[in-house]
Structures are given as C-alpha cells and as structure tokens.
C-alpha cells in the first residue's frame, strides 16, 4: 500500500486562506514528487513478483482523488481516499492518525511512503504511522526488497550503506535513489478509470473529529515568502588570470577554500 499526498505543483503560485491554510483549489495540484519514487518502487516489486498487489492510499480533500487516479494510471490495482470535512487543516500528527487507522483496516504487508512531502517537508508521517501501528519502520531506503516474510531496505550513509531488515508488516519510506518514476502512459490513464477507488469518511475508519483534537495539535502562526536571493555576482570581461584571482578571493572570503 503506497501512501501518497496531493501537493501544489512546485511551480504553482501558492495562496493562503485567511486561517493560513494553503488554498488548494487555487493551485494546480500534483502527486507529491517524492511519493512518485515510492510508487515506482512498489510497481517494480509487483513486476518482479515480490508483491501480489499494489494499492494507493491518500488523505485529503475530494480533489485528491485526482492524484490517486494519476497513480493508478502509472500502475497498481486500487485506491482508497480518506476525506472528511473534519480533516481540513490536518497536521502531521492528525495525518498519521488517519493513515494509521486506514492502514489498520487495509492491513497491508508494507505501507510505503515517500521520504517527505514537497509542501510541508516534515518527514514525520512514516515514523508516526509506524509508532501508532506499533510496527517496524524502515526509513529512507534507496531500495526496498521483500523476501519471504521480511522486508529490507538499503539506506545510504555518510560512509557506505546500512541494510536494515524487519519482519512484515512494516512501514517503509524510500528516497529518490530507487530509480526514475515511470510516466503514466495514455493506456494507463484510460485503464485507471476502470480501477476501483473507495472513498472513506472518518467514521469509516473508526475515528471522530474529537479523536483528532480539531484536526491538528499544531497551529500555523505565520507564512511568509523566502527572502529574495542576492543577485548573482558575475566575473565578466576580464582576463583568465584576473578572473581566477577574483573567484579565489571570493571563495576565500567565505572560507570555502
């Protein structure tokens, strides 16, 4: 089961509502690019026969169904969307609770996620879901393998890599090292329309708005644009020796050489 999130396109202009929530209707939305690697990893496992089926799970507004159908156009078998008015403004904790409850019901061997979301970049959800479900977490894999009744990730480290293994079921997250995500082919897009997609409310997964403390434990107090970068300094129209000296001085002044 691959958990995906719909996020505003990286290039889209982001607008916020009065209560500092992202105005999702105003921006073109895509599958979180880092989740596409998780999808690719899952589809490769299915193609190699290591897993029988691949499903997709998302929590979000109704329009997140579009991201699920895009995932189904890449491959896989079915999708589940958890959507509920009470989930507006859900933070990482609330998201993890909802996903954990949905996963309890779906009971997959592997709940696979991207390493972070492109909009929030908290990287908290995989760990939180694993903790709530009390199953092992295999995080930041550059590759995921399923062998018999265990899962194994290869995780790059500063001086090599670790191999981490755990018995199924697990929560796993993978990085952009798993390989380039495939495109949704046009046949895939047509086929996706015929694949089953279920929509669940909070009640369907046995949760209530009270369980989520009003959908968040955290509160956004301010949003602002990043400071503009200072203009690029160019070394132009000078001889090679002079240019080298100036670049070296620039780097030295910043203790970079």
């Amino acid at each position: 089961m691959v958990c995906i999130k719909q996020v505003p396109a990286t290039t889209a202009e982001k607008r916020y509502t009065a209560d500092l929530r992202l105005d999702r209707a105003a921006a073109e939305a895509v599958i979180n690019p880092l989740d596409e690697y998780a999808i690719e990893q899952a589809l490769r496992l299915q193609e190699s026969g290591a897993v029988e089926s691949v499903g997709f799970l998302s929590m979000g507004p109704e329009q997140a169904a579009e991201a699920l159908r895009r995932a189904l156009a890449m491959g896989g078998d079915d999708a589940t969307l958890v959507t509920d008015p009470a989930l507006a403004g859900a933070d990482a904790w609330a998201t993890a609770r909802v996903l954990a409850a949905a996963l309890d019901r779906l009971a997959p061997d592997v709940a696979l996620m991207g390493m972070a979301s492109d909009d929030a970049r908290g990287s908290l959800v995989p760990g939180a879901v694993a903790a709530m479900r009390q199953v092992p977490l295999l995080s930041y894999g550059s590759e995921l393998r399923i062998e018999g009744s265990s899962a194994r990730v290869r995780r790059l480290t500063a001086d090599g890599f670790d191999i981490v293994e755990a018995p199924l079921p697990v929560v796993a997250s993978v990085t952009d090292q798993v390989g380039e995500p495939r495109y949704a082919s046009l046949k895939g897009i047509m086929a996706a329309k015929r694949k089953p997609m279920e929509t669940w409310s909070l009640a369907d997964i046995g949760l209530s708005a009270d369980d989520l403390h009003g959908s968040a434990l955290t509160r956004v107090v301010e949003t602002r644009k990043p400071e503009p970068k200072p203009p690029t300094e160019r070394v132009e129209n000078v001889g090679a020796d002079e240019a080298v000296t100036r670049i070296a001085d620039w780097l030295a002044a910043r203790k970079l050489i």
């Binding site: 895509v30 156009a73 495109y183 082919s185 046009l186 046949k187």
Partner: protein, 395 residues
C-alpha cells in the same frame, strides 16, 4: 511554464482531469526525453526512430483512435494537447507525429474493416510509422493536379510517378499515396492507396534539405510500375481527393496545436532571457519596448491555443471543422513565425547564434506557414466559407 499554458479552475476553459493527465504525460516525456537532444538532432539532420518507439510505448502514437485498434481511445482535443507539449520541446518530432496520425486517419476514415485491423494496430502502437504522400513537383497547393498514374492491372494497380516533400519519407512503414486512375477525370480520378516500402518498383529518392524541422525526415518517393494489390486501395476509385482533404482538415488542428507549442516555447525563452539580460543598468524586461513585444506575443499564443481548442472540440462534437481548422492553422502558424522572429529580436545578437534555441524556432516555424495547405490556401478556404455562410443568411 508560463501560466497561459495551464488554465485551472475556475477557468471556463479548464481541462478535465483526464485531459490534464494526458497533457502532463506528454509534457514530462517531451521535456525529459526530447528537449535535451533536439538541438543536436537538428544540427545533424538526424531522425531518431527510437523516440517514436518511446512515444508508442507511452500511447502517444495513436491518441484519437479506438482502443480496439490499439489507440488510446481519447479525443482529438487530447491529441491536440499532447501535440502542443511535444512541439514545445521539439517541433520536428511533433510534425513527424502529426503526419503519422494524419496517415492513420485516412485509413481509419476510409479503410475497410480488414484494412483497419491489419494496418492500424502496428501504427497506433508505434511500431509502424505512417506517411502521407500527396504533394508532387507539379501539384502543391493545387493538389487535384497530381499526375502520379495508377494503371489498372489484373489484380491491382501499377503506380508510376514522383512524390516530393513527403514527411517521414524513407523512414515510414506505411505510405498513404494519392494517384490518379485517369487524368482526364480531373479530381474524380484521384484514388488513395496504401504502399509499403518492400513494394517492387517503389524507391525512396533524395532527401529534402530543409531549412527547419531538420530532425524529421522528408523525401522524394519514386514509383516505377510499383505494383499495389487491389486490397490496398483505400476507398473507391475517384474518392482519393475526399480522403486527402477530409483528413487534412483534421490534420490542420494538430499543426495548429504544434504551432501553439512552438510559439509558447519561443515566448518562454524570450521572457526568461529578457528577465536576465541587463542593458542600460536594468533588465531588458523592464524596458517597455521589450514588454510590448512579450505582451503581443502572449496574446497571440493564447489566441492560437483558443482557436485550436475550439477546432478540436468542434471535431470531437462532430461539427463541421473546415473553416475552424483553417483559422486555427493559419493563425497559429503565422503567430509561431511572428513570435519566434520576435524572440530572436529580444535575444539580439545571441538570438542570431545557433548556440541558442530561438533561431531554430524561427526556422521551424516558417515551414508551418507552407505545409498542410499554405496559409494563402487557408485564407481561400476561410473566405469561401464566409461567403457561403453570408449567402445562406441572405437567402
């Protein structure tokens, strides 16, 4: 990408989810797999067949044809969206693909069930490339004046004559060829045939040395008593001109879409360059004469897209598209030429260099004012339609 390319809610022209998905797949493919190498393929005048194969794998080679025939089973509108994306990266491949889709349309619209099920699945899958052979040395805009002769034999026809400027010539696996069974019958003698490269008496002649779209092939085709079985005649004898013109009316929509993509790419490059290039102490984008160029280009590209979309939607709805597709093709190709020329101007000296892409856009755009019916012919079609409409209204 500039926002003009991607209307979203609550835009009344917003794309459906499926249409966005098709556009995104075409865009991802074009930007990742065509854009990085297009300059080099243009420079080397090299057609890369593997890229066509890749488009086949993604389902881009038969978008508007039914799934039973291996197509994507999508609308002509979806095909136009994909074509814009491909052209924004690579005009040559967009035109090559557009001709491939055009040749399929002749078979799809006028072929027998046997011909469709035999010829179309490998074409929609991207294993067989199609070509559309109408133009001759003495028959360009006046297509009905063609002279390639189809002489009846015991079990078919013997074709003799020459075609020129045939896009995908030399690379194609399926040629839709227009010949006349009797020149004295004029347009009523024209007949369509399907010819494969292994046909005895059929050879590919010299390759055209083109100004632009140099990464797509175009060649002369020579027929000397080339034997074509009756089973490969498309439609009845004398129906050829109807096959050609009917298909071209639709083909113009994808040419318009491609020109929209080319104009958009030229505008994006010009805008980006203008925002970086500094003269007189500020970026040239802050200077009003440059702003006027960019603004005019943005309006024209948007108008090209809307004319194209309208023609495509009209076709999907089963409406008459003759005037609409001519308007789209004429306006979008004139716009592409204008915007590409202006992009060179915005770049200044850098734009005149082959190290920057805008000179390629300018060369690529020029052809679109000429092929698939020159823009003078499009004006004739539009004017005829206008006069007929007015006549009907006044009656």
């Amino acid at each position: 990408m500039v926002s003009t390319a991607t209307p979203t809610r609550p835009d009344p022209f917003a794309l459906s989810e499926e249409e966005r998905s098709v556009r995104d797949t075409a865009r991802e493919f074009a930007q990742r797999e065509l854009a990085p190498t297009v300059a080099q393929r243009d420079e080397e005048e090299r057609y890369e067949r593997g890229l066509f194969t890749r488009m086949g794998e993604l389902g881009l080679t038969g978008i508007p044809y039914p799934e039973e025939l291996g197509g994507a089973g999508l609308s002509y509108f979806a095909w136009a969206l994909a074509c814009e994306e491909i052209a924004a990266a690579d005009m040559g491949m967009a035109i090559s693909l557009s001709v491939h889709v055009l040749s399929q349309l002749c078979i799809f619209s006028h072929g027998t069930d046997e011909q469709k099920s035999r010829l179309l699945p490998p074409m929609t899958a991207g294993t067989h490339l199609g070509a559309f052979a109408l133009t001759e040395p003495g028959a360009g805009s006046d297509a009905a004046a063609l002279s390639l002769a189809a002489r009846r034999t015991d079990d078919g026809y013997a074709l003799t004559g020459t075609k020129v400027w045939i896009t995908n010539g030399g690379e194609a696996d399926i040629y839709v060829v227009f010949a006349t069974v009797d020149r004295s019958h004029g347009p009523e003698g024209i007949t369509a045939f399907v010819v494969t490269p292994d046909t005895p008496g059929f050879v590919v002649g010299s390759h055209e040395r083109k100004m632009g779209i140099r990464d797509s092939p175009a060649a002369e085709l020579v027929f000397e008593e080339a034997l074509v079985p009756e089973a490969d005649r498309l439609g009845a004898e004398g129906e050829g001109l109807k096959v050609a013109l009917g298909s071209l009316a639709s083909g113009r929509i994808s040419i318009a879409a491609a020109c929209t993509g080319l104009g958009r790419a030229a505008l994006e490059h010009a805008t980006r360059y203008a925002s970086q290039r500094t003269q007189f102490g500020r970026t040239i984008a802050e200077q009003e004469m440059i702003q006027a160029i960019l603004a005019d280009a943005a309006v024209a590209v948007e108008a090209s897209r809307l004319l194209t979309w309208r023609a495509a939607r009209l076709r999907d709805a089963g409406g008459s598209i003759n005037a609409a597709s001519s308007m789209a093709k004429m306006f979008a190709s004139d716009t592409a030429m204008q915007v590409a020329t202006d992009a060179v101007q915005v770049y200044g000296g850098a734009g005149y260099s082959r190290d920057n892409p805008v000179e390629r856009f300018m060369r690529d755009a020029k052809g679109a004012q000429i092929y698939e019916g020159s823009n003078q012919i499009q004006r004739l079609i539009i004017a005829q339609h206008l006069i007929e409409e007015q006549g009907r209204a006044d009656r």
